[in-house]
Symmetry: C2
Subunit: 113 residues, 2 copies
DNA sequence: GGCATACATTCAAATATTATTATATTTTTA
DNA sequence: TAAAAATATAATAATATTTGAATGTATGCC
């Protein structure tokens, strides 16, 4: 079981639009840096920096193909997280039943929303 | 379908150890601020700051019970994400099949790991 | 009304993240 | 072997996040 610290670290590392798009692409297959340049409107060094961050955290890896670096996903939780994020939830969660569970609480007052 | 920017924003907001612990507790039921003080080793104002951030992003809400604020989850994706993060994955993803999909690539060279 | 409780807000300092620019590295090709 | 291609690294500047300290606000109770 992952610690809360590790969970936070993982989320922090993927919580960036460019990195999410990189990961989305990698769930479809191997991609090299120049492939990413085609659809990310950020500079090449910046793409490399995002890729390095993901690799340093064990989320992706690469192999060499001539002078290309072919990146691919290695962390299996990533496709699952992306699938959840794409999902549409119709409703917010049901409001809690009338009586608060909190230790000090008594009968609930007005809901402020 | 959530935009990549919205996905990143959601992840960024929950990607903090204290906020993850708050959310873990809230998946179990309603909690007020003093309940959180018992297991988070951070100051009361800091707890309030984290709660405000989560509320400003539509992840939690509260109702008043006398002078207690009873917080509860409203974003339905949160329990699902937490469940995924708790899950243990035995293996890393399988390495990609031998031939890179990348446009420019030829036959893969040595894997550098 | 006055005090205590429960909690929020504000401001500032410390720290972390991000993007930019310039430069370096590695491999292929001519 | 020199040049070009593909990519990484380093340094810096801009921005965002986090925390701590002080103070503010609302509610219930005496």
């Amino acid at each position: 079981m992952r610690s809360v610290g590790k969970m936070a670290e993982l989320l922090r590392v993927i919580a960036h639009p460019a990195r999410l798009r990189i990961l989305e692409e990698l769930t479809k297959g191997v991609k090299c840096v120049s492939d990413f340049e085609e659809f990310l409107e950020i500079s090449q060094p910046n793409i490399s920096q995002h890729l390095s961050l993901l690799r340093n955290h064990g989320i992706i890896d690469y192999y060499m193909d001539g002078r290309l670096r072919c990146y691919f996903l290695i962390d299996p939780v990533i496709p699952d997280i992306l699938e959840l994020l794409r999902k549409d939830y119709a409703e917010t969660l049901p409001a809690p039943a009338c009586c608060p569970v909190t230790k000090k609480g008594k009968y609930p007052g007005e809901r402020k929303r």
